[in-house]
Symmetry: C2
Subunit: 82 residues, 2 copies
């Protein structure tokens, strides 16, 4: 029961996450070793297939050495503008 | 099974949420009317008693008319610095 808008938010978040991970030269596996999040879950977040909680987001931020808010560095209404 | 650090993140998020809500002169009840989040859940988020998902966070941002990342405008390690 995920709306198109919600799906858009998850996809934007996933792209942002993947872009940050790649900018740090981390593979999914290396990143999973740096935080309490499973490899398969990181993959699902990156493809927008899974909603994430604040505490998991904070774990990912720790692994990426960024502030949690940097993971939300996308505009909420971008999905409506195309 | 929430660690002290995790509890700290939820509490910081809750304070930020409450501060934004009050700055917009919204009561919990008015805010709940503006988004798909229950009154009681907003209250639990504000008191750091409940972990929040990205999609619920986006709903709250919509009600507050802010970008989702503004709700995470706190430092991840503040809980360790006191």
């Amino acid at each position: 029961m995920v709306s198109d808008l919600d799906r858009g938010i998850l996809i934007q978040f996933g792209k942002r996450l993947k872009s940050l991970r790649q900018s740090k030269n981390l593979t999914l596996r290396k990143m999973a070793l740096l935080c309490n999040v499973e490899y398969a879950d990181i993959q699902r977040y990156e493809t927008g297939k899974q909603n994430i909680t604040l505490l998991s987001l904070a774990e990912l931020a720790k692994a990426l050495d960024v502030e949690p808010r940097e993971l939300l560095d996308f505009r909420k209404f971008d999905t409506q503008s195309t």
